[in-house]
Structure formats: C-alpha cells, structure tokens
C-alpha cells in the first residue's frame, strides 16, 4: 500500500459510514469517494466490501463496470470530448483527433505535467449546439479546434495562478 493512499483511508471510512445505511449504497459511496479524492484508491475496496457485507470481487466488479469510476489519480482537470452522433455531424471526429494531438495523450491519458486528463463521453445533452466538451463540471458548446486550444490555455493559466 502506498503511503499516499493510506492517508486517504480515514476519509474513505467516513464516506462509507455516512452512506452505508442507504438501500443500494454502493454507487453513492463510490461517487462520494471519487468526488472527494478524484479516484477510488484500490485500498478502499476491502473497506467497502466489509461495510456492505459483499466480496471484494463484487466491489471491484462494479468499479470496473462503469466508465466513470477510476482507480488511479486523474490530472488536475478532466476534459471529456463527446463522441456521439450529434457531435459527429458537427465535426467531433476532427475535434477528437485535435484534442489527442494537442494534449499528446489518448483517451484515459493524463498530460505529463499531470494537469489534464482526456476522457471520452457519449452525449452531454447539448446536441443542438454541437460539438460539445465537458471540462470538470462545465459543458461547453460549438467547440472548434481553435476554441478547444483556448479552453486548454485557460486551464493551464488557471493552474499557474494556483501554484
């Protein structure tokens, strides 16, 4: 177990005890852990399994089933590019290629400065103003490659200000 993950376990325990009474508690628990930590540390699996009286395999199986849950830390920001049909009709395939080339990563990859993780998504419900991307919790419409670059620049300068 890595020291970094171990430090997170008290928080994981707190999340579990706050939610385990709910019927069908597993997804709410996983969401909350990922919300707080950015990912679900593998060390939390046995804790969740014990609290819900399920096997580790059950918990791991659920984490791996859903595209959203991740077991490793993401970058500071996550950009999701919509790959679905409405966005395709407005140039999403070119936008995807541009995003990968610009960031130098494939889907699920994180830039070498740990700043941006690139993910795919199938539909953000912004289909009348395609193509769309989601940056953290914000959805942006009519994203041209130029606009994409501008959004990435904004994220990078934000990160500089924080440091």
């Amino acid at each position: 177990m890595t020291a970094v993950n171990e430090q997170m376990l008290p928080l994981v325990r707190e999340v579990i005890s706050g939610l385990q009474h709910k019927p069908g508690a597993l997804l709410p628990i996983l969401h909350e852990i990922q919300n707080r930590l950015g990912y679900i540390p593998p060390e939390s699996v046995p804790l969740i399994a014990e609290a819900l009286n399920q096997s580790r395999a059950d918990i791991h199986g659920v984490i791996s089933f859903y595209h959203q849950f991740r077991s490793t830390a993401p970058g500071k920001h996550t950009i999701e590019v919509c790959r679905a049909e409405a966005c395709q009709s407005m140039g999403a395939r070119q936008l995807e290629a541009h995003a990968k080339a610009t960031l130098g990563v494939d889907y699920h990859g994180t830039t070498s400065d740990q700043n941006i993780t690139l993910e795919e998504v199938y539909c953000l419900g912004n289909c009348a103003c395609s193509p769309s991307v989601r940056i953290n919790d914000e959805i942006v419409g009519r994203v041209t490659p130029e606009k994409f670059d501008q959004l990435v620049d904004e994220l990078r300068s934000q990160t500089l200000e924080v440091h």
């Binding site: 969401h31 059950d58 679905a84 395709q88 199938y122 539909c123 912004n126 009348a128 103003c129 395609s130």
Partner: protein
Amino acid sequence: MSSSVTNNTMTKIFIPRDTTALAMGADRLACEIAAEAENRGETIEIIRNGSRGLFWLEPLVEVETAGGRIAYGPVETKDIDSLFDQAFLSGETSHPLCQGLTEEIPYLKKQQRLTFARAGITDPVSLEDYQRLDGFNGLKKALVMEGQSIVDEVKTSGLRGRGGAAFPTGIKWQTVLDATPGKARNDKLGQKYIVCNADEGDSGTFADRMVMEADPYMLIEGMTIAGLAVGADQGYIYLRSEYPVAHQILNEAIAKAEAAGFLGNNILNSGKTFNLEVRLGAKAYICGEETSLLESLEGKRGMVRAKPPLPAIVGLFGQPTIVNNVLSLAAIPYILSQGGQAYADFGMGRSLGTLPFQLAGNIKRGGLIELAFGVTLRELLEEYGGGTFSGRPMRAVQVGGPLCAYLPESQWDTPMDYESFQAVGAALGHGGIVVFDDTVDMSEQARFSMEFCVAESCGKCTPCRIGSTRGVEVIDRIRNDENRASNMELLSDLCETMIDGSLCAMGGMTPFPVQSAVKHFPEDFNQPAPHNHGEA
C-alpha cells in the same frame, strides 16, 4: 436615453441556467450584464430561468415589458454595450439581436406545448412560479382520489411510454397497482417503488434534461401522483452523471418541495407519504435499459435482467416497481389536472398526446419542438430547422437515437407517429432527430454503431458482446475493400443474429442503423475506403 424613467421600476431580465445556455456562455453573460447595469445606474433583477428550447438563440436574454417578454439572442458578452446603448431594458426592438416578443417567435408559437408549457417562463426552482402556472393542481386532485381512479385517468389519456418503447403507461401502472409487495430482505413487508429513468443517453435527445432543468417540480409532481396511484411511498430518479446542471437543479427543487410539504411523510397534510431521492449513474449507456437501471440502483453492475418477470411485478429490490421515463412522468400532472381526455385529444391513431421532438446535430435552428404526433419529419427539418448548420445539403437523418435507423430523403415525408415510423422500418424512440449533411460517410456511421455497442454492451449475452466486436471488424474489412461481397453477406447475417438473439434492445437494435445505412446509402459501402463523400 431616458434612464431616469426606467430607473423607477426594477426591470426583470431572464437569462437561462439551462445546460445549453450555460454551454454558450450564459453565466458569464449574466455577470457582465449585472455589472454593466450597475455601471450605468440601472436597476435590474436577473432571473435565471429555464430554457425555452430555442437553442440556436442561446443565450437567449429576455426583458420583461408591459407588452410581454422581448427576446434577444444569441447574446454574447461583446453585445452588452450595444444592447444597453439601444435601450433594450425598455424593450426597444431596434437591436439586430432582437427577436421581438418571445411568445411570437414562430418556432415557439406554432408548437403545442403541454409538457413544456412552463419551460423557460419560470425560475425552475421557484415554487411560487410553478403554482402560479397550474403547478400541483394534478397532485391536489390525486390526493383525494382512489388509486384506481388515478390509473383510469392515465389509461384514458392514451399516454405511451416516452422512453422509446411506447408501452401504454396506464397498463403498466395497473400492473403495479394490482401487485402485492413481497417480503423484503429484513422480513418486513416490502414496499412498491416509483423509479424515474433519467438516463437520457441517446445522442440527439435533451427533452428529459430540459424538463429537469426548466420545470423540475412537474417531474416531482408526476412521480408523487404515480406513488399515490399504486401505493408506493419511495421514489428514485436515476439520473445520468453527464447532466451536472440537472443534478443541481433537481436537488434544489426536491429540498424546497420537502420543506413546503409537497414531498415527505404528510403531503399537504393528507397523511400520505412520498419520498424522493436522486441517484447518479456513472457513464454507462446500458443503464437506460430498465432492468439494467434497477441493477445499478441496487448497487450492482448494470447487467440486463431477463424478462419476465416484469419490473412491474419484480422490480427494484424485488418489489413491484413503476419504471417510467422523465417525459412520461412529466405528462402526468397535465393529465390529472386537465383530465385524460384533454390529453388524448391531441395526436392521431394510437399515438395520442404530444411528443417533444428534439432537433439536433448539423441543423441551423436546433431545439425542442413539442407537437402532437403526425407532423412530418420534413416539416421539422425544413420549417423549424431551416436546413443544415453547415449550409450544405442534408443527406441522412437519424431519428430515435443510436439504436435507430438513418433515414434517406425519400422517407422524410413520413408522419412522426409510432406506427408510421414502424411501417418504414424506423422508430421514433425518444424523439431525437440528428441531422447529417452530405459530408457524412455512412459506412463510418455504421461502424460507429457497432463500436458504440462494443463500448456499452453489458456483456451478458453473446450476440451483443461478441457480435458487436465482429461487426466492427467486418465493416472495417468492407471499408478496406477486402472480399467485399462475402463480407457484406456476413454483415447481413451478423445483424440478423444480433436482432434475433440478443437479450435486450442494445444488441437487438444496434443493427438497425447499420442495416439502414447499407440499404439506403449503398454507395458508401461500394467505394474503396478511405473516402470522403464531401470531396467526391
């Protein structure tokens, strides 16, 4: 400018907090309009309403005047100065972005809005706004009705499930009403559940999202009525996590409704109980399938269940459960408040009521269009949509989501109702319409249909799990011009196997867009790949 006159009354400005409006810059616009008003000494009140669904005009800014609300859109921050200069606060219509009175915009005026009657007019989380415009009238009626009478009213309306399968809603409710809850795991008598399927995963659809973001109390009211009808006191909204704005608004609305006694253990002092909770999905398209959704709600992998038993009898946690789409539940308050017959008076044949069509993709004027069934696809594409966004000729239109057919121009005169679409081998699904111009490569679209199924199949049945992977490979070989004739035959066989052998609609319908692409756009499968239709 007569600012001294306008200053005396506070001008109301409406700027939506809907996802599309936000995606086009509504938040920043609202901040800068507020700042500019302060600079100029104007007193304004900014209300963050829902969207009217005229998405090509977003952000659509409306100014309240004595004669009605005047619309300006699409407004960018660079337009703010000129809007103030040209006295938009007093409803001056000279600005080039002025669209006149919102209610008179033909795209909106020609619609028959029942479900979306309040959308964009109100502040979505204002209980006062909701009640001023007939909100909770259906609930108040339902509170003094027998469950059976509520179900009868829904049957009279002819409402069919708006999620895509079009199953009669009243029949489903009757089944749940008649079912007896089994023993729960703790040996107490089990309970019935109302589950709202808000996993609106089909590309080109956003009607559910608009209900939740523009008029969430309508959904809350519809679910509460469903609970009263069948004797369920717990409801869940299973919401896709791709909708963060809807999540926020639903949670605000539920908290306010609880505080005001519209939800909880003693609804409006009737002694009746209904509690409601939003549960988030986690990026899995298959969880829009109702049995997979129930598994997910129970905290499991979203694996499809075999049917029977129906969820109406053995549903969430093994108990009788209504699983309805957002739009089905959102239609309920109108049906209860105005009567089932009033709803049934819209529509044609067995497709009664209205359907909110959603115009999306490469379209000049995309948005939500609620009309009675029976309008033709061409009317929507041309009169409402105004042609493609790119200005190029339209070539293919996918109606009903990623599991439904691509329609060539020869089919665009088909009336938009369930039976007419079925007759041409297509489906209305959830009413989403995605337009492609002539640069589309239909073999690439067919390949994507299979690729999407690879990514999103739950993996339970072989035709879907393995068939889709083989489908991608076969289409790749066709696109690479390897043994074209025999691979086309193989693709045809594979599609039949998936349709006949899959457990649910994911594998069973993935071939529909593929087959329609092959049938209606054969030229895209007959040229050596890679090719680009637009440059041909």
